[in-house]
């Protein structure tokens, strides 16, 4: 149907070569292509996959919609995103997940995979209809109460056991809510000075340890959302080395770009654009997280893209909603924290931003090698570009970026979803 020739591109940052696409699939060669794209100096990576996105539709359209969030995703180099269920109504039934999935297809800029709620209304009391959501057109394979922890150990145990029969993964927002009553910022010297109620690292680490044990016992698949402390890294390492061998269980974990770059001192001006859950941690944690991502203890990067209307942020710190935009800045922040520091090469970036998240979510058509016969999901990156972040210029309706005014390396130039450009020269190619 259509053919594309991408000339002189560097797959994974390696030697320049040419890529050919025919009818949405990478092929060895195309004669007389419909389109030739000169990619001198650009790096090709498999399209990025985000396991943790808040698209806010339905119910939060003043901050983001499937359309605007999809545009932000494409501009960030993503070809698949997982939309968290804390919408209104909650994505806890087949009808809601199918609605989100259909909207994603209509917009067509990125594959939108709705995440199903673990419990009805994220209430933490009884299981949502996970099997019905899995069997729906949306084909849900990831469940999470993200924003809330499945705090009840019995309920979490049953969720893991039940999900196992669906070949699904339970993504846990690891936060023992009894330890974070009123919490506003990382518990430590900065919060103590600012008079903000502390969010202790142990609230995350104890849940990670508990859930790893429950997953091991159930032979189930656990994914830890937005891992944020050095202690959680050690718990994860311990679980992998001593708990999981000999079981069918898997425990994976993601880290957000903001936890790789920003630290708890950002709260010092009380501007809630830096308020996020889990909170920004001290520098020692960011160092441990970077190292763990490089070593593979942390499996992947996920954005926790969380748009909020201006009223939810332009207020007192304690009144503000937690969360920050992330889709359009993720690759640049990963470049700044992992590539320019020498912790990851571009193959490593492809691994943590595309291949591994696709595998965790069980996607067979994303995060694939850049070789003939594979789906043509691509992002072309200019590694030498530098750009200054302006929230107002981002595609999201909300503009709550913590990187406002910051100059970041690397920019997404083109994004391709199954052979069709969703972004060209940094501009969205809207089809809807």
């Amino acid at each position: 149907m259509s053919t594309t020739h991408v000339r002189n591109v560097r797959p994974y940052g390696e030697d320049p070569t040419d890529l050919y696409v025919r009818d949405g699939v990478l092929v060895d060669h195309v004669d007389d292509p419909d389109q030739v794209v000169d990619a001198d100096g650009l790096i090709a990576l498999p399209g990025l996959v985000d396991l943790h996105t808040h698209l806010r539709e339905p119910g939060g359209e003043e901050a983001e919609t499937v359309a605007t969030g999809s545009a932000a995703a494409a501009l960030g180099g993503y070809t698949a995103v997982f939309a968290m269920p804390n919408t209104n109504p909650t994505q806890d039934s087949p009808v809601v997940v199918e609605h989100v999935w259909r909207r994603g297809r209509e917009v067509g800029l990125v594959d939108v995979h709705p995440v199903g709620a673990v419990t009805v209304g994220l209430g933490g009391e009884r299981l949502a209809e996970m099997g019905m959501m899995a069997a729906s057109a949306a084909g849900v394979r990831m469940f999470s109460d993200d924003g809330r922890c499945v705090n009840d150990p019995l309920l979490m145990r049953r969720a893991l056991e039940y999900a196992r029969s669906l070949d699904a993964v339970v993504a846990q927002h690891a936060e023992d809510h009894r330890l974070t009553v009123g919490a506003q910022a990382h518990e430590g010297p900065v919060a103590a000075r600012l008079g903000l109620t502390g969010w202790p690292a142990t609230a995350e680490e104890s849940i990670v340890a508990r859930d790893a044990m429950l997953a091991a016992a159930a032979g189930a698949r656990l994914h830890v959302c937005h891992l944020s402390t050095a202690g959680s890294v050690e718990v994860l390492r311990w679980a992998r080395e001593t708990l999981l061998p000999g079981t069918t269980a898997t425990v994976s974990a993601e880290v957000t770009p903001h936890h790789l770059l920003l630290t708890d001192t950002a709260a010092e001006d009380y501007d809630p654009v830096h308020k996020v859950n889990p909170p920004l941690r001290p520098e020692a944690d960011t160092r441990a997280l970077r190292r763990a991502l490089a070593d593979g203890v942390i499996d992947c990067v996920a954005t926790d893209h969380a748009p909020h209307a201006v009223e939810a942020k332009d207020c007192e710190w304690s009144q503000a909603r937690p969360g920050m935009l992330g889709l359009q800045t993720a690759l640049s922040v990963v470049t700044a924290t992992m590539v320019t520091t020498g912790l990851l090469d571009w193959r490593g970036v492809a691994r943590v931003c595309s291949e591994v998240p696709a595998a965790i979510a069980g996607l067979s058509d994303q995060g694939r090698p850049l070789t003939a016969g594979e789906p043509a999901n691509l992002v072309l990156v200019d590694p030498d570009a530098r750009w200054t972040v302006r929230g107002a210029d981002l595609a999201s309706i909300a503009d709550n970026t913590p990187y406002e005014g910051m100059e970041l390396p690397a920019s997404v130039v083109h994004t391709m979803l199954r052979g069709r450009w969703t972004v060209q020269d940094g501009k969205v190619m809207t089809h809807e």
């Binding site: 506003q184 518990e187 430590g188 010297p189 900065v190 919060a191 103590a192 000075r193 600012l194 008079g195 903000l196 109620t197 502390g198 202790p200 001006d269 009380y270 501007d271 009223e311 332009d314 207020c315 007192e316 710190w317 304690s318 009144q319």
Partner: protein, 326 residues
């Protein structure tokens, strides 16, 4: 009265970061205010005539609000009180809009009390970003207590009281702050200010009422009140324990708290003769402090209230009295 109003202070948001010469200038001015008013039949200085001071209180407070209001009136400022229950605040107006409205309506200074830590910082940030024609583009924000963060004028009035009792130089003076440090804005402001003034501060509290990270403060910490009192501190500042903390699991019972951390007559008797007892009020008598101690000559509770007016006059003076004011 001092004629040097410029001490490089645009707002008073915290005592942390206040330089020693700024703190001493404020305290010296407070002392001058006290002298200027002593023996006057009519307690009115013309200093802030034509200036408007708005108190914006999102929490109930009698003493702090009245203190600021009296301070403003004694310097001839127009003072206006806005409270959370009696204004558009109750209708859900945002803090930003409320602050902008007060600035646009002609406030030269906004005195804020708010349950959210950092709320005065937010207001100062918002107001600094827009011009205000009536004040050369500046509206001063004064923190009258924000959440569990700071209460800088309380610390200044405590320091002023200590200077009256112990002498103007607080270098090397040993001050114990006893009680619920975790939730206390008074403790935070005092720890920083007293350290800046050269005093040695010791926090005395059960571990559950100390914030994680307190070791980064310029203080020493102990859980043993009797042990610390035996070292003969120059001053003991008792913090309020709020009713909701008593049932929050921070300590087993009010009775046990009183036994371990209350300033009983027996404990007060172990103090050196010159030692001062402070309490920011309102005190829970019998729990934090025995009535006999609160009413003794050692206690400076009433002096603290009086010093509060002078200190707040000094703060308004340094923040508001520009060159165009006589």
């Amino acid at each position: 009265m001092t004629d040097a109003t410029g001490i490089g202070l645009r707002h008073l948001l915290s005592t942390e970061g206040l330089r020693r010469e700024q703190a001493e200038a404020l305290l010296d001015t407070a002392a001058s205010m006290e002298q200027a008013l002593t023996g006057r039949a009519v307690r009115k200085l013309p200093t802030l005539r034509g200036r408007t001071v708005v108190t914006l209180f999102y929490e109930n407070s009698t003493r702090t609000r009245v203190s600021f209001e009296v301070a403003g009136k004694w310097m001839s400022a127009d003072t206006i009180n806005v409270s959370a229950s009696g204004s558009s605040v109750g209708k859900g107006e945002s803090l930003r809009d409320t602050a902008a409205t007060l600035a646009a309506a002609g406030a030269d200074a906004i005195v804020v009390r708010h349950p959210a830590s950092g709320a005065p910082h937010r207001i100062a940030g918002w107001l600094d970003r827009v011009g205000h024609s009536h004040t050369d583009g500046h509206v001063a924000v004064i923190n009258a207590g924000d959440g569990t963060h700071e209460h800088p004028t309380q610390a200044l009035l405590d320091a002023a009281t200590l200077r009256r009792r112990l002498g103007a130089d607080l270098v090397g003076r040993r001050v114990a702050i006893v009680g619920d440090v975790l939730h206390s804005r008074v403790a935070r402001s005092n720890a920083h200010l007293l350290a800046t003034l050269g005093a040695e501060v010791t926090l005395v509290a059960p571990p559950t009422l100390l914030p994680a990270g307190v070791d980064a403060w310029p203080v020493t910490v102990t859980h043993d009140l009797d042990g610390h009192l035996a070292t003969g501190p120059d001053a003991v500042m008792m913090l309020r324990v709020q009713a909701e903390r008593m049932h929050g699991g921070f300590f087993p019972s009010a009775r046990e708290y009183a036994v371990r951390f209350g300033l009983s007559q027996r404990r007060a008797d172990t103090l050196p003769d010159h030692a001062v007892v402070l309490h920011p009020g309102p005190a829970v008598r019998g729990m934090e402090i025995a009535s006999s101690v609160a009413d003794s000559d050692r206690a400076a509770i009433a002096e603290q209230v009086t010093a509060g007016v002078h200190v707040r006059m000094a703060v308004l003076y340094h923040l508001l009295a520009g060159e165009d004011v006589a």
